[in-house]
């Protein structure tokens, strides 16, 4: 969609700007008077009936105006802006008569051209603040010339030798290989540690396992049963063991095994065990047959 602001831009410019534009446009027309505007392709476009059918083919009103201007087959700077405006308006009218939808931007341009026409036909009065018709015409001419110039420039650009079509880069570029080089990291401490630990690991060492006397649960149970006998009194476990076990090293395993066995005997209902405070002496006695104490 075309923005209104854009098309109406020339009309809202300050007067001095417009005068300058007109001057430059006039200057330019002197410059390029030899420059014949390419004529539009004949055939399809020469026929006005076809023209409006192809309204969709135009990229906006400026494009259409440029096409109409080219059909005048004269230098753009000598083009009759008045005739151009009339052609455009006539064209839009025809299209509207045929009830073909016309986009708003074409109508905005039409309105502006009507205004331009009125300024061109009414003689300029001296105290008129409005821009003169000549200035407006010059602005329109400038815009048409500039668009035309850019079209030509695009064509000339395309006519240049293009890479991949006319001019070629190296077909087999040689890629840059990235060689990864390791910067090895190791320090002296690590080196010495590695050496020492290996030597230690593989050093032939005399190894004598320490043999410990271990009371099996079976043994402990047998001994416990023997020791307790038929005593019905509470006797500390330590006392039983003290009688039986000699060395201090043996006492630990004896205590552990005996205690475990005592629990088993309790479970079987052969023994009562009692401890009055944490880590206090463990008291044992044979369980009374009548099931008294527990």
């Amino acid at each position: 969609m075309l923005r209104d602001q854009q098309l109406s831009a020339p009309a809202t410019q300050s007067l001095t700007d417009r005068v300058r534009a007109a001057n430059v446009a006039r200057m330019n027309s002197a410059h390029s008077s030899n420059d014949r505007i390419d004529t539009a392709p004949d055939g399809a476009l020469a026929n006005a009936d076809v023209l409006y059918v192809e309204l969709g083919a135009y990229e906006g009103p400026l494009d259409l105006l440029l096409e109409l201007a080219r059909r005048q087959k004269v230098d753009m700077s000598r083009i009759s802006v008045l005739a151009l405006a009339e052609q455009y308006l006539g064209f839009i009218d025809t299209v509207r008569d045929k009830r073909i939808e016309v986009a708003a931007d074409y109508l905005v341009m039409a309105a502006w051209l009507v205004y331009l026409k009125s300024r061109l036909m009414v003689p300029q009065t001296t105290n008129d603040d409005e821009p003169s018709g000549e200035m407006l015409a010059a602005v329109l001419q400038f815009r048409l010339k500039r668009l035309e110039a850019m079209r030509k420039a695009a064509t000339r650009l395309l006519d240049r030798p293009q890479r991949g079509r006319d001019v070629f880069a190296r077909g087999a570029p040689e890629p840059i290989a990235i060689v990864r080089r390791a910067l090895w990291e190791a320090d002296l401490f690590g080196l010495l540690k590695a050496y020492a630990s290996q030597r230690e690991r593989t050093a032939p060492a005399d190894y004598q396992p320490i043999h410990r006397t271990v009371w099996s649960l079976q043994e402990a149970r047998a001994i416990l049963q023997t020791l307790i006998g038929d005593t019905a009194e509470w006797v500390p476990l330590e006392v039983y063991l003290g009688r039986h076990v000699g060395s201090a090293a043996e006492r630990v395993t004896a205590l552990a095994s005996t205690f475990a066995s005592s629990l088993e005997l309790v479970r079987q209902g052969q023994l009562d065990v009692q401890q009055s405070l944490p880590f206090g002496p463990l008291l044992l006695r044979r369980k009374a047959r009548d099931g008294g104490a527990s």
Binding site: M1, L2, R3, Q6, L7, A9, P10, Q13, D17, R18, R20, A21, V24, A25, M27, N28, H31, S32, E59, G60, P61, L62, D63, D105, V139, F142, R143, K145, R146, L147, A149, M150, R151, K152, A153, A154, R156, L157, L158, D159, R160, P161, Q162, R163, G164, R165, D166, V167, F168, A169, R170, P173, E174, P175, I176
Partner: protein
């Protein structure tokens, strides 16, 4: 005698550096700048002088050393185009709108979208600029220091490379257009006729934010532009 030997040595060095510049540029399909070539050369070598000498050496050969903006590349000679010509590999030729937009950007850069639209008299779809950016020929340069901070567009060195231009000054018909005052983006043309400019940012431009690209299509800009 010492002088003679010095000379020989210098010649040897020169030849060696020339060979290196030759090899580096031959190896790469894309143009390279003097700065990109320098690391391969002697520290005291002068890449620019070497490039100029190599360019003379290859003038008139089947392969020429050509300048593309600030970069250099070997390319087949233009006059052999009629022998080497290949059907364009482009899957999709550029639309008329895209071509027109491209030439407006090329001749009017730095140009904002609003300025492009003013020349064309129609609004430019986002797709058109996207396609041009995709070709690698057009880039966002910065933002114009005006309300709305519109993005300014310009061409790239790949554009110069594709169309065989040494610099923007080689754009076809540039002088005529300049003379005719047709290079002014906005009406009226000011006192000076601007020339397309793809150098660093101008005074009225400011750099893009690093995460900018998405912003340019914001409706605010369109309204302000």
């Amino acid at each position: 005698m010492t002088r003679a030997r010095d000379d020989t040595e210098r010649d040897d060095n020169l030849e060696r550096n020339l060979r290196i510049v030759e090899a580096v540029l031959f190896a790469s399909a894309e143009p390279l700048s003097a700065a990109e070539i320098a690391p391969y050369l002697d520290p005291q070598a002068q890449p620019d002088a070497l490039l100029a000498q190599l360019q003379r050496r290859y003038a008139g050969r089947g392969v020429n050393l050509v300048r593309r903006g600030s970069r250099w590349a070997f390319r087949t000679a233009e006059d052999l185009s009629f022998i080497l010509k290949r059907e364009s590999l482009e899957a999709r030729p550029l639309s008329r709108a895209a071509l027109e937009t491209l030439s407006i950007i090329a001749y009017h850069q730095p140009a904002t979208r609003a300025e492009i639209e003013e020349v064309r008299g129609v609004s430019t779809g986002k797709g058109t600029l996207d396609i041009l950016m995709e070709t690698g020929w057009v880039r966002m340069r910065g933002r114009r220091r005006t309300p709305g901070r519109p993005v300014t567009y310009g061409t790239t060195e790949a554009f110069l490379d594709h169309f065989g231009l040494e610099a923007l000054a080689d754009l076809p018909g540039l002088e005529d257009l300049k003379g005719a005052g047709l290079l002014s983006a906005r009406l009226p043309p000011g006192m000076q006729v601007p020339l397309p400019f793809d150098g660093p940012l101008r005074e009225d431009e400011e750099p893009l934010d690093p995460d900018d690209p998405g912003l340019e299509e914001s409706p605010e800009e369109d309204r302000n532009a």
